[in-house]
Amino acid sequence: MKLPPVEYEAPTTVAEAIDLLAEQLDEASVLAGGQSLIPLLALRLARPEVLIDINGLDELSGISATDDWVAIGAMTREYVAEESGVVADAVPLLAAALPLIGHEAIRSRGTIGGSLAHADPAAELPAVARALDAEFVVRGPSGERVIPAAQWFEGYLTTARSPDELLTEVRFPAAGRGTGVSFAEVARRHGDFAIVGLAVSLVLSGEVISDARLAFAGVSDVPVRATAAEDLLVGERPSAELFDEAARRATEDLDPPADLHGSSDYRKTVAAAIVRRGLRAAAANARKRQ
């Protein structure tokens, strides 16, 4: 369908964008890469009165690294992050997830901040951010605040960002030695939304798992950490039996949604399978990076 009539603003500075957001509040939608918002408009699932297009805010694009963090500007295109050597070295889980997002043409326009602010629980980036405890930097009329991933995702397509705030940057902790990662997902076609997805990051210290992070996509209205499985894994040596038990613990309390792609039970079965698969892949990857 054609888009409904909508006002359009194209600010050229973050300050101008925040002023516009403060004026419009709930009537405005922020237009970043548009790969989720434009379909929502076409399908009449979103009816903002005004679009605030932040594609002109060059200050929001770019990737920078310190020893501990990689900071990615909210308007950084997904393909740019996908091709970034900094991301590949320091945030390998993000690098593993990026090629799975949509299709090539979607990643040409789609942005890191856009996907995370849209907060689709079936998407890859929210699971990555939740697994790694990323931090979200938002700016509003009263200044800047930093929101941890555990608080960012509040519900289906809902985040802790206030209507007068703009997501400006997302910070991912840099992976240390012995970190192995995997983004496992089952989808109907390459590039489709995952029926279930799983972000895994393991740290191997010698032969023992010293840190384990697992976050599901597609099993709830927000990305979900598998804390019971994480607690089991830490301090243990990787083994098939351990990963079987982790899969059981990770999925026993899940109650995934059902839709035409799969029933709730099917999703739960797939979730357990990708826990085993993801842990095996992450452990193998960790051994290479020691």
């Binding site: 379909p39 043409a105 040409s108």
Partner: protein, 155 residues
């Protein structure tokens, strides 16, 4: 809103409404009807064009956002009134039946091959996985793109 952009090497101007997608602007305002619209919400890939060297879905972008950018559509691929090399390879491989999805496949494959001239079948399949064809069963499309890649390497 008044906009100026480059389309297929020429400077073009227009005054689209904010809500008009780049796809509709190309088709209705610039009469470039080679860009096709299937689903109009970013799923089918028929409207794929090349923006500043990268494949994008022209239904997921507003025309006003293309101001100042360089757009290539299917009409921009023909050389000297004949078919471009990828188009010729797809012709030779019978890579289409009804032809509705073809411009999207051609633009996506053009962008992909220019970045990955040595791509093999698996990579080409992945690169084209976002484009839907309801006639061919895809095999002949993959064959056409592979043939184009092969011919490019031989030249």
């Amino acid at each position: 809103m008044d906009i100026t952009l480059r389309v297929n090497g020429a400077t073009r101007e227009g005054s689209p409404e904010a809500r008009k997608t780049l796809a509709d602007f190309l088709r209705d305002d610039l009469d470039l009807t080679g860009t096709h619209l299937g689903c109009e919400h970013g799923v089918c890939g028929a409207c794929t064009v090349i923006l500043d060297g990268r494949a994008v879905r022209s239904c997921l972008m507003l025309a006003v956002q293309a101001a100042g950018h360089e757009v290539t559509t299917i009409e921009g691929l023909a050389s000297d009134g004949g078919l471009g090399p990828l188009q010729q390879a797809m012709w030779d491989s019978h890579s289409f039946q009804c032809g509705f999805c073809t411009p999207g496949f051609v633009m996506q494959a053009t962008a992909f091959l220019s970045d990955h001239p040595d791509a093999g079948e698996q990579q080409i399949r992945e690169a084209l996985s976002g484009n839907i064809c309801r006639c061919t069963g895809y095999q002949s499309i993959i064959e056409g793109v592979l043939l184009a890649a092969e011919r490019n390497r031989e030249r």
